[in-house]
């Protein structure tokens, strides 16, 4: 009897906690009507996670009819412009920073700055506020993020007697040792271009720092500037060594993974989402490990890429009250702990009060982002740079990786594009 009572109370406590988070300051009438949610989490595991979360929200609001539509992640990227203009849902997933720019400027997203005034969100989500802000207003809330960094074959490192590099020079020395052993250092597939953007992000963040990187993204620094050239010079050192796998321009990132699985290449610079497929192909934690991209210049504070996925309310939404309640629910500490855990998204929670899953890579990533990224946290190349600039630039980055000698030509071209993009 006592145990039962205990459990009931505990259960109530949890429910209260969750409800409290969702209703932090809304004492209005219970939510009703229809809530249409569009998701881009089309892979089976994240899809199940999101559906479960939405079902939980639905249980708290029995009068609310929730209709969820899951759209293929790639298709979603072009479809969003259609449903935002034509037939808006009440809530939609998307990405932070400049990726939401075109929709914000076209007045297609709801200003949710009011949510961010709520101390629950303002305090616990402070670190992501910048990425959600355009023109001083917030246009959505984050629900998950993940680190980028060097994932490497621990067993091969041990075999070759190498250790995680503490500086860029050490990283190059490691690479030389790997090359001497007849392997490639880094696998990458640049067919769809953005993976090259990851390399540029890190090399530029390390060479010139976070502020410089953001100024470049905002068009305040020219591509032909010497500082940017220095970034490419550092990159060229790796290319000239033969550090990257051959023919990367013909592969997608997934097609590049077999090289690291087979041991023909030893490392990959990628987001944490690559861990799952690598584990599936047989690289357990004894074979796969992670290190932060090492510093080049000790005077430049380390900064990281940590792409954030987000929820927004389209301007044309019908049920904005319910949508706001849903956004609050999603970012609450418990929900964040739950959806980002190892059984679900396997990523990092955005709420500072949420718990990070007990997973080697997540713990290391969280540690890195919360304590060792003093310079700042960038989103990712194609989220920080305006769409058109990103498209042109990533193409140039790919060209540079194949023909480093074309650099002048590439940079001049990018300058030309930037004069139009940032007019």
């Amino acid at each position: 009897m006592r145990t039962m009572k205990y459990w009931t109370i505990a259960g109530l406590a949890v429910t209260n906690l969750m409800a409290g988070a969702a209703f932090a300051d809304s004492h209005s009438a219970p939510l009703s009507g229809e809530l249409k949610i569009f998701l881009d989490t089309s892979n089976p595991a994240p899809r199940a996670t999101m559906e479960k979360m939405i079902a939980d929200f639905g249980e708290m609001h029995p009068d609310l009819t929730i209709e969820t539509t899951v759209i293929d992640r790639e298709a979603y990227k072009t479809q969003i412009r259609n449903f935002l203009t034509a037939d808006s849902p009440d809530v939609a997933t998307w990405y932070a920073a400049n990726r939401m720019g075109p929709y914000v400027r076209a007045n297609l997203l709801e200003d949710v700055s009011d949510l961010w005034e709520d101390p629950e969100i303002a305090e616990n989500l402070a670190s992501t506020k910048g990425a959600m802000t355009i023109d001083g207003k917030q246009w959505g809330v984050p629900y998950t993020y993940y680190q980028w960094g060097m994932y490497y074959r621990k067993d091969i490192y041990e075999e070759l007697g190498l250790s995680e590099p503490a500086t860029f020079d050490e990283m190059k020395a490691n690479c030389q040792a790997i090359l001497d052993a007849g392997k490639k250092c880094y696998t990458i597939g640049t067919k769809f271009l953005w993976t090259a953007g990851g390399w540029f992000d890190y090399l530029n963040l390390r060479t010139n720092g976070f502020d410089h990187h953001m100024k470049l993204a905002a068009g305040e620094i020219k591509w032909t500037d010497d500082s940017v050239r220095q970034t490419f010079a550092n990159w060229k050192e790796l290319i000239d060594m033969g550090a990257f796998v051959d023919n990367h321009q013909t592969y997608s990132w997934q097609e590049a993974l077999p090289f690291i699985v087979s041991g023909d290449a030893v490392e990959i610079l990628i987001g944490n989402f690559a861990v799952a497929p690598l584990r599936e192909s047989g690289l357990d934690d004894s074979k796969l490990d992670f290190y932060q991209f090492p510093p080049m210049d000790p005077s430049i504070p380390l900064a990281e890429d940590a792409p954030t996925d987000t929820f927004h309310i389209p301007a044309g939404a019908q049920n904005k009250d319910a949508a706001r309640a849903f956004l609050k629910f999603v970012v609450s500490a418990d929900v964040q702990t739950e959806i980002n855990n190892g059984a679900n998204l396997q990523q990092l929670p955005v709420n500072a009060k949420a718990a990070v899953d007990d997973d080697k890579f997540l713990k290391e990533g969280f540690e890195m982002l919360s304590t060792n990224s003093p310079g700042g946290v960038a989103q990712f190349f194609d989220r920080d740079f305006p769409a058109e600039m990103a498209a042109e630039a990533m193409q140039g980055l790919q060209e540079f990786m194949v023909f480093p000698d074309n650099l002048d030509d590439i940079l001049n071209r990018l300058d030309k594009v930037s004069t139009r993009v940032y007019k």
Binding site: A387, E388, A390, E399
Partner: protein
């Protein structure tokens, strides 16, 4: 459009019970029969062409209100290196795609026999045409793959090193064109096989008596008789070349670094792809492509017109 033929003179001696429709049946019927097709066609084909022309004069991201910019998009095209690359690639496609015609003829000549099982051979040779370009693209991507592709395995037997066809900016377009030629050649082959069936045996006999053999026979007697087949092969090949989109999108996605783009792909990329928000600019590219096509359309129509007059 609404030029109905002169109505029959209203005949006052006609029994009055005949309705207006009955009296003008011959004049009205064709329009009734044409109406659905014409309406559909105007709505979905003719009118959009006009709209594309007008969109091309605007700066429009497809989300907010368009701004009129006059010929600005066209001016920018003149100065766009990616556009230039696309245009050149289109030219390569046009010229090289025409190879489908002689190769198709050669295969048709090779297969124009009556041995047992030849029907099955003909079908199997024709087979690539039936497969969608998406699948053809995938098949050839793997064929060229630098790690395991059949092509490089094959080259390996002769001690030739790996060629990454689709990763090499100078080769990639040719690689895609070859993939496109595969089904297109099959199409031309079937046209010629049918054409060869209808070649007049008496003329061949007459040629033989005159001592024509082999290539001379082919050139002076056979090919002139295959003219209708050649015309159709030419038409479908040109259209196919200018429509090339699927293969590029599947095989290289325009890369490496945009070197395999053609106008049709570049247009899509600018207007509707993941990072493309420039409807007006895309429309301007489409207009240029349309203008190129228009030269050929005019030529085709002229040929058909002469034909019609000849009847």
């Amino acid at each position: 459009m609404s030029t109905t033929s002169p109505a029959l003179p209203v005949d006052q001696y006609e029994p009055p019970r005949r309705s207006f429709y009955k009296r003008n049946e011959i004049a009205i019927t064709p329009w009734l029969f044409l109406a659905p097709a014409i309406l559909f066609f105007l709505f979905y084909v003719i009118f959009p062409i006009y709209q594309s022309f007008s969109v091309s004069l605007y700066d429009w991201d497809g989300l907010s209100e368009p701004t009129y910019v006059g010929l600005e998009n066209y001016r920018e095209l003149m100065d766009d290196s990616a556009f230039e690359v696309s245009l050149w690639n289109n030219l390569k496609w046009l010229v090289l795609y025409l190879l489908a015609i002689p190769v198709g003829l050669a295969i048709a000549l090779f297969l124009n026999q009556t041995v047992t099982g030849i029907r099955l051979y003909k079908s199997l040779f024709f087979f690539p045409f039936v497969i969608s370009q998406v699948v053809v693209g995938l098949v050839f991507t793997w064929f060229y793959d630098p790690t395991f592709g059949l092509l490089n395995t094959f080259l390996g037997w002769f001690g030739i090193g790996t060629i990454n066809v689709l990763g090499d900016p100078t080769l990639a377009t040719y690689g895609i064109i070859i993939a496109g030629l595969w089904p297109q050649t099959a199409y031309c082959m079937i046209l010629y096989l049918t054409g060869l069936n209808a070649v007049d045996p008496e003329q061949i006999e007459a040629g033989r008596l005159d001592g024509a053999k082999g290539f001379r026979m082919l050139w002076y007697i056979i090919i002139p008789q295959l003219k209708p087949a050649t015309f159709i092969a030419f038409v479908v090949t040109i259209i196919g070349a200018l429509r090339s989109f699927d293969l590029i999108s599947i095989m290289t996605n325009g890369g490496p670094f945009g070197q395999t783009r053609v106008l049709s792909f570049y247009m899509f990329e600018k207007a509707l792809s993941e990072y493309g928000f420039r409807m007006g600019y895309g429309a301007a590219i489409a207009v240029v492509l349309f203008m190129i096509m228009l030269c050929f359309i005019a030529y085709f129509l002229y040929s058909m017109y002469k034909e019609e007059k000849g009847h």
